[in-house]
């Protein structure tokens, strides 16, 4: 398979870029932030649903487009460039992926259509610590007469505040991690919110003996770890796509600035030290492009080495986004650290993206272990 996007995928990418430039430029991000950190623009979300982006990765069986993750990745990359806020990642990349990979037909039939038409939203509740470790799950799911009782505390839940339901990772009596649908308005659910560096709202949720039915269990017995791993891979690759957008845009704005800004009577882009640093960034970004398209294609093809490629993608983008956003800040000089210009937004968003679903260190370790060293 050639490492390029198809004509169809290119069309989708171009239309996404055009749509976002019109309807969700970076100014919208600033407005939302300044409106007391509004999570996203409701009207934009409706338009996104109308564009079909919520259906791209959903099977035709449930009236999805079955267009694949390469397509969704192009959309996410463009959303990265404009810092567009929408619950596409939480509800579709995380929520719908958890359901799509489940064998619980009832849950799928109920939820996938509502996720696609935007009438309901899911949030994924996995993290329990300050650091990312999907194996360190303490939240418990105790067998009850007609289902389970969920207890525990989850944190860093993306778009948790407005979600209709949570996908909760909890350990069963047998010690296996399992995934459950938990209604956000159920008894025993309490939520607090924090604003993080990227002006995004992230929830911490306490589950205190919350009752769920047996049918609310998403993962089959013995299959929880596999499903979690599938979500980790999908999330990592999709985040890498969004990060690629940020990397490209922050770099391109920086190169433009180098061409305009004058110091000591010369445009700063003519200074060799900055030229070399820009050329090094260019090179790293070339690598980023390659791993993202490779990983997206692998996701669609269900490749055997998805663990390897997902970690490669998240690690490489994590390392490069740090380099590029830091260099962008430094090269923009004083103006860059003011809130008046946008480059700082990319830097801040980057730091959050770096950490979500495992930072460079986590994925480097996972990659090395995949290769048994």
């Amino acid at each position: 398979m050639a490492l390029i996007i198809t004509e169809e995928q290119k069309l989708l990418k171009d239309s996404a870029a055009e749509f976002l430039a019109m309807n969700a430029p970076v100014e919208q991000f600033r407005d939302l932030r300044d409106s007391n950190y509004k999570p996203f623009n409701e009207n934009l979300w409706k338009q996104i649903v109308d564009m079909g982006w919520t259906s791209l990765t959903i099977s035709e069986e449930f009236d999805g487009l079955d267009f694949g993750f390469v397509g969704l990745g192009q959309v996410l990359e463009e959303m990265g460039k404009t810092l567009t806020k929408a619950p596409l990642f939480s509800s579709i990349v995380l929520g719908a992926t958890a359901l799509s990979n489940s064998s619980n037909q009832k849950l799928k039939e109920t939820w996938l259509p509502m996720l696609m038409d935007g009438s309901k939203r899911i949030a994924f509740a996995q993290d329990e610590h300050n650091y990312f470790d999907p194996t360190a799950i303490v939240t418990s799911a105790k067998k009850s007469s007609d289902g389970f009782l969920i207890s525990g505390k989850k944190t860093m839940i993306i778009d948790g505040a407005g979600a209709d339901t949570f996908v909760v990772v909890a350990r069963t009596d047998e010690g296996e991690p399992a995934l459950f649908m938990v209604n956000s308005s159920a008894k025993g659910v309490s939520l607090t919110s924090e604003i993080l560096l990227d002006a995004g709202t992230y929830a911490s949720v306490t589950f205190d003996n919350v009752e769920v039915t047996a049918n609310d269990r998403i993962s089959d017995v013995g299959n929880g770890t596999v499903l979690l791993n599938q979500i980790l891979n999908t999330a990592s690759i999709c985040l890498a796509s969004e990060m690629l957008g940020i990397v490209k845009e922050a770099f391109s704005q920086t190169v433009e600035y180098l061409k305009e800004r004058e110091q000591f009577g010369k445009r700063i882009g003519s200074y060799q030290a900055l030229q070399h640093r820009a050329a090094i960034m260019f090179s790293e970004i070339e690598l980023c492009k390659s791993i993202v398209i490779t990983a997206l294609q692998a996701l669609d093809n269900g490749a055997d080495n998805l663990d390897e490629l997902a970690s490669l993608a998240k690690a490489k983008l994590g390392k490069t986004i740090k380099l590029v956003t830091n260099e962008a800040m430094q090269m923009h000089g004083g103006i860059g650290v003011t809130d008046d210009v946008n480059i700082g937004f990319y830097f801040k968003r980057a730091r959050v993206l770096q950490r979500l679903f495992g930072d460079y260190n986590f994925h480097l370790d996972r990659y090395a272990r995949y290769h048994k060293y």
Partner: protein, 397 residues
Amino acid sequence: METTTTKDLKEFRLETRQWLEENCPKSMRLPLKDSTDYYWGGRNASFASEDQKIWFEKMLEKKWIVPYWDSQYGGGGLSPEENNILTQEMLRIGCRKPIFSFGISMLGPALHKFATEEQKIRFLPDITTGKTWWCQGYSEPNAGSDLAGLQTKAEDKDDHYLVSGSKVWTSYADKADWIFCLVRTDFDAPKHSGISFLLIDMTSEGVGTRPIKLISGKSPFCETFFDNVRVPKENLIGSLNDGWTIAKYLLTHERQMIGGVGETDVRKAVHQIALENLPTKDSILTDGVLRPEIAELEMNDAIFEMTIQRITDEAKTGVNAGALSSFFKYYGTEQNVTRMELLTAIRGKDGLVWESENKKAASETRMFCRSKGNTIEGGTSEVQLGIISKRILNLPS
């Protein structure tokens, strides 16, 4: 200044220790937490607490606001040895500075070196009594690293200068009483030769300010505007068109100050924070990437401190360390930026908190953002590297 014997110094230490013990309020011995803990003085001075007031006034009475300046300017007249002892004794029990003042740290040294006796008598005492809050006006919106490219002009109008233009990155311009700034007095001369050093009363007609918001949130920085401001001629420090000499002298000072960003004694070791936040095995950090990064940072911190010590010691033997201020500024700020990046990584989710009930986490995240300015303000790292390569290594242009 009289020479003091070792015996005198011992006595001075004992007296000082006792005096501080008796006069420094307990709350003034706690580490500074946020901006309200700083007292800046000035015309509209207000104290944040009764203890802050008591402490300032006790020190003022003792003439220890600037203990090492001559008493004719309101200083304490202490010898360098005595001043060292006072500093050590204050550090020993954690006494806060009675006041924070660019007048003391920046303008004062310049006035001592470049001002007339009349100007010294006029301006220094109000610094030692905390009556004047000074701010600094060097940078301009389009000058950036090219400080000497400044465009704010001061026209000679016989009995006064008429100043027009704007400054940026003026810390506390919205609160300060006076500003010391660089202005262009000759547009035909080469850029370094047409600059003068001028003192301007911030209440003069035509002076305006606007606060700057940073990526870290609110900041003390302002833009400052001069719209045909009349400045008396006696406010010129040094010779006309020779302001760059004073600027260079002060920049060297500033670089040394910024290079020391985040002193170690008030810092918790990075590895300590890591041990509290990250998984360990046999009490050793398990994160294979962070552990060597933390160790490298802490090793360089430790050796950087030795380097400050070594170069100070060498300077005492007469080795000229002046050109090294660029090295201190460069290395100190790069270390600080690395430290803040690492801390953010170590603190995981907490390292990303912006607004939350967890106020401490949020404040540390903002410090991280603020640190991105360290390698820019006071001369970018690129400028410092350029200075090292040209002035110390003598590489060709």
